[in-house]
């Protein structure tokens, strides 16, 4: 039987959800409705209101080779960032899980990067990766000119991927560690008695048992790398050199606010939003897969 609490006062529940509702309305539904409006209309050349153009904005985006370039780049960026960040976090979490001394200290230390605003991290990494003075720039002393993200697009993209992964490690770490610690210790010990070495135990026993967490983080990281990269790219490369770090979210900003093509940018943001919605849907659909603990 379902148990529910009812409010006697009809107005009270609305009052209670009002703040949240207001936030969602102002910061999600209203901008989204505006974006939808812009995406299906075009402003007249000399002002005087928008005219309805149907799917034209979308069609012109889909016919734009440059846009598809950004889509591929975004996908590559998302995959690399997610893989790198999750792999690093998992490795650290496994180490911390194996020797529990000072776990609490590690927990807080590793999560700090997550609290750093992306633009701040971007600036810091720009200094570190600066070809003339930064840490990585030191290799230019050995092989002059080998490192310069200001002219080499691949290096620029790699630099941002590293920075974005670094920002996510702490968040991933916390989840991985929590999941690993949920696994009864005796399961790993049974594996040791069965003759499996630590790496084998991790692959055969621990990883399958934290699969739900892995999946959850996979989606969260993918979404984050599609949407949260703006702050980094804007401070580190501004999409350059030659558009080689221009991912979907940055192109939206650039086309809209620099190129003043509101309608095109709005259409792009609708596409990005649908992508994120799809990923979230996949997560809700799958994340409730059964968990294996006894």
């Amino acid at each position: 039987m379902e148990r529910r609490a009812y409010y006697r006062n009809k107005g009270l529940p609305w009052l209670l959800i009002a703040p949240q509702l207001l936030l969602v309305l102002v910061f999600f539904y209203w901008p989204t409705s505006q974006a939808l409006y812009w995406a299906f209309t075009l402003e007249q050349p000399w002002g005087g209101g928008n005219t309805w153009v149907g799917w034209d904005n979308f069609l012109s985006i889909f016919h734009d080779k440059e846009y598809w370039g950004t889509v591929v780049r975004s996908a590559f960026y998302a995959c690399c960032t997610t893989a790198l960040s999750m792999f690093m976090a998992l490795t650290l979490a496994v180490f911390v899980d194996r020797s529990l001394k000072g776990t609490r200290a590690f927990q807080s230390v590793y999560v700090w990067p997550y609290a750093i605003a992306a633009p701040a991290a971007g600036v810091a990494f720009r200094f570190m990766f600066a070809p003339e003075a930064g840490l990585i720039g030191a290799i230019n002393d050995i092989w002059p000119g080998i490192w310069n993200p200001a002219i080499n697009g691949y290096q620029a993209l790699g630099m941002i991927i590293v920075c974005h992964s670094w920002l996510g490690i702490g968040y991933n770490f916390i989840f991985f560690l929590a999941a690993l610690q949920m696994i009864p210790r005796s399961i790993s010990e049974a594996g040791a008695m069965d003759g499996a070495r630590p790496v084998r135990r991790m692959l055969d026993l621990q990883l399958p048992l934290i699969a739900p967490t892995v999946f959850f983080l996979l989606i969260i990281n993918l979404i984050s790398s599609f949407t949260d990269s703006f702050g980094l790219i804007d401070t580190m490369t501004e999409g350059g050199p030659f558009g080689s770090t221009e991912v979907m979210v940055y192109k939206i900003y650039f086309d809209g606010f620099k190129g003043l093509d509101y309608s095109g940018a709005a259409a792009q943001s609708i596409i990005l939003m649908l992508l994120v919605v799809a990923l979230t849907f996949v997560q809700f659909k799958w994340v409730e897969k059964r968990v294996h603990y006894n």
């Binding site: 009864p184 499996a196 006894n294």
Partner: protein
């Protein structure tokens, strides 16, 4: 075959010592039960054999090999864990076969051996189920099959039945006994349940607070407890333990002016002594008969086959097993007696004090077991 030898084995966590130096030898093919209250270090000792805990000091030998520095997989032990520790995402077949898979046994041979072991614990129809779909007893059997499949040199059991209900526990006990008889593998079994320990063990190692109190066959331990702790711990209901002192005439003064006359006390006059006598050795007696102790009934516990009389003898608690019937309301005055031979004496340090009578009993018991 495989012996296990402990040479002053110690375990410390940081600075806290938990096992204070254990010396013992387990014979090849023997079934040894380590028994003790929780926190006495018995599981730690077992896990040191397995290689799951580091040995802080001393040596453990399996066969002739010092295993202190060996990884668990190199020691040839298999372990059954308290909470089964089955791999929840693997079927029964994969659970049992995992050790073989890790060892690189070819698939066909693996299937074959898994099947054989599964049959020996009657699990063959459950091979494709997940542990979550099994009952407690079935999980327990999977855990045993998983240990058996590797044909280990040593079986280790870490309180394996503590999650089972009483009936299943008895069934599993006889199953373990049967498996040990069939396989003859050296086995070490940790438990805090004395019935389990007494029924399973060839020999018992009784531990308390990180020390070995006594090593011996179950009947030895029962009839000749080496310390006050063992006397109190083994046996249900527990042994009557009466604190007191012998006077110059050899009478035992206890409680609030109680006196027991014994012959053994003369040499011990003046020392603080604990006198122990098992409830089943205490008999009802006629008032005024020789050596009878007067006591007032506190309450009676009915057990069915017999009953336990809890009585107060001049301020000391006295429990007696009684086969009689008839109502015994609290406050009834009764008389009890027990023979000199059934008396155990323990000194202030808790160790046993040998007397003529106890030596005679020991000799009698030894004769009995030899004849048996």
């Amino acid at each position: 075959m495989t012996t296990i030898t402990f040479k002053s084995v110690k375990k410390r966590y940081q600075k806290t010592p938990v096992v204070h130096g254990v010396d013992a030898q387990i014979q090849s093919g023997e079934f040894v039960v380590i028994l003790g209250p929780s926190g006495c270090g018995k599981s730690t000792l077992l896990r040191m054999i397995a290689g799951l805990e580091e040995i802080s000091d001393g040596e453990i030998l399996i066969g002739d090999t010092v295993v202190n520095k060996l990884e668990p997989r190199e020691r040839g032990c298999a372990m059954v864990f308290q909470n089964y520790a089955l791999y929840p995402h693997m079927t029964v077949r994969k659970n049992i076969g995992y050790a073989l898979k890790v060892a690189g046994v070819p698939k066909l041979e693996r299937e074959d051996r898994v099947m054989k072991v599964a049959q020996s614990v009657s699990l063959e129809t459950y091979l494709d189920r997940l542990p979550g779909q099994l009952s407690g007893g079935q999980r327990q059997r999977v855990a045993m099959a998983r240990a058996m499949v590797r044909e280990p040199k040593v079986f280790l059991f870490d309180e394996p039945f503590s999650n089972l209900d009483a009936k299943l526990r008895v069934a599993m006990r006889s199953e373990v006994r049967r498996l040990h008889r069939d396989l003859g593998v050296t086995s070490v079994f940790v438990t805090h349940d004395q019935t389990e320990a007494m029924t399973l063990a060839d020999r018992l190692i009784i531990m308390n607070a990180g020390r070995v109190e006594q090593i011996g066959r179950p009947s030895d331990v029962y009839h000749n407890p080496a310390s006050r702790f063992v006397a109190d711990f083994i046996g249900s209901p527990a042994m009557n333990l009466i604190e007191g002192q012998f006077d110059a005439k050899g009478a035992f003064n206890h409680g609030k002016g109680g006196r027991l006359s014994t012959e053994s006390g003369l040499a011990l006059a003046g020392r603080k002594i604990t006198l122990g006598v098992r409830p089943e050795a205490v008999r009802r007696a006629q008032a005024g008969s020789n050596g009878a102790v007067a006591a007032v009934v506190d309450y009676v516990e009915e057990l069915g086959a017999s009953r336990l009389i809890y009585a107060d003898a001049d301020g000391s608690r006295l429990i007696a097993v009684d086969n009689g019937t008839g109502h015994l309301p609290s406050g009834t005055k009764l008389h009890f007696t027990f023979s000199e031979q059934d008396v155990h004496l323990f000194g202030e340090d808790g160790r046993r004090i040998e007397t003529h009578a106890s030596a005679a009993r020991m000799a009698a018991h030894a004769n009995k077991t030899i004849n048996a």
